[in-house]
Structures are given as structure tokens and as C-alpha cells.
Symmetry: C2
């Protein structure tokens, strides 16, 4: 499964199909809201979110990191972590907002980032 | 200042002017990204976010909690916590997405929720 980029006993991470660097972190033990997770799962989700954030900052030097937990369509907790750039299609709107321009990004390969992230998450 | 609903030494909480229950949590020591905050500030932000989430669930019984950290317009970390309902203006889209319908919500008073939240955050 190509979109799966990491997993351990507690969680897995998928790549979102997008022009920006965007991953989604899912707990394996499903819960609807973050406060429904047991504490150790929640702590690991938050720490993993921070590791992804820091890895994106280091690798892509984005304008801003965007984080979201919605789950309205599928009421199953997951955390979106996105690297945002002034030149991306929606900036400064969220990726769910109105498109602002044709995408002009020219980013280093996600495969390279994936390798670095996998190393950091080990 | 009417929109300020809570503060302590580390953070403050504002009400967002919206038809849905929506608050924003700001650290007093400004940082751009969550990973830029010192650990004790970050832990308190996350715990406060969870307290707000649980208080909203208990008081409003929403369809889903939505959480977001964007800060693209103002690159200063803050956490949005929103209670979402099937009948709200944007559901199941995020509040930043396309409006889906005229708002049909009839919710209990935010002032009542504010009092309960303030009590829980003490």
C-alpha cells in the first residue's frame, strides 16, 4: 500500500495525495475524539505529530505548519499535518478553503522526506 | 474584553464570534509552531485543549469536535476547538470550507458553557 509511510504497534501514518507535503496520523485503536483515546495512545499521537512537524520544518522550510483534526466525514480520529508555502494553491487559506492560485511549488521529493521521517520515528 | 473567557499565567482563551461553539487557545509566550513552545507550555496547551473538548462534548453533545492549528494569516500559534453539528452551516465541511446550508442550530447559551468551562479550568 503506497500511501502507508509508517506504522508501529499504536499508530500508522499515511501520505495524503496533495501537491503539498501532507500526512495523516491514525491511531490503530480507533477512537472518535482525541479525548476518547487512552492516555498512552494520545501521548504517542501528539509526540508523533510533533516529530512530523519538526521533520517537515527541517526538510521543507515551510512558511507555516498546519494541523487539523476534523473527521466529520469519517468520525474516526486522525491528525492532518501539512507544510504550507506562500506559493501553494491555497495559502494563506487552509487547504479546505478557497483556492487562491495555480500551484507554483517546486519542492524536493517526498520520497526523500519519507526516508528521513521514517528514520526519526524509529 | 468580552471575547476573553479564561486566562492563567501560561495561556488565554478567546471565544470566536461564530454560530457554533468555538474557542481559540493562545500561549502567552508567543511561538510560531507548537514545536517552538517550551515543553511545559505545550503540555498545558494540549491539556487545556482536551479539557475544552471534553467540556464541549458534555455540554453540547456535538456530532464531532474539530481542532485546528493554522495561523497562516497571523503566524502565531493558537488552537481552534469547535463543536460541530449536523445542522450547522458547514457540516460535514470544515468551518473554513464551503457553506452547506442556512444555519439551523438552536444551542444552549454559550454563557452557561463559559461558566462550566471556567470552573473546569480552575
Amino acid at each position: 500500500m503506497k500511501k502507508l509511510i509508517f506504522e508501529n504497534e499504536t499508530l500508522y501514518i499515511e501520505k495524503e495525495d496533495s501537491i503539498i507535503p501532507w500526512v495523516k496520523i491514525f491511531p490503530k485503536k480507533e477512537c472518535k475524539e482525541l479525548s476518547d483515546c487512552d492516555k498512552s495512545t494520545r501521548d504517542l499521537l501528539i509526540n508523533t505529530m510533533l516529530t512530523v512537524e519538526k521533520a517537515m520544518i527541517e526538510f521543507y522550510h515551510p512558511e507555516k505548519i498546519n494541523i487539523a483534526m476534523f473527521g466529520n466525514y469519517l468520525p474516526k480520529l486522525h491528525i492532518h499535518v501539512m507544510a504550507r508555502f506562500k506559493e501553494d494553491s491555497h495559502y494563506p487559506e487552509p487547504m479546505w478553503g478557497k483556492e487562491q492560485r495555480e500551484n507554483k511549488l517546486n519542492l524536493p521529493s517526498f520520497d526523500e522526506f519519507k526516508k528521513i521521517l521514517q528514520e526519526k520515528l524509529k
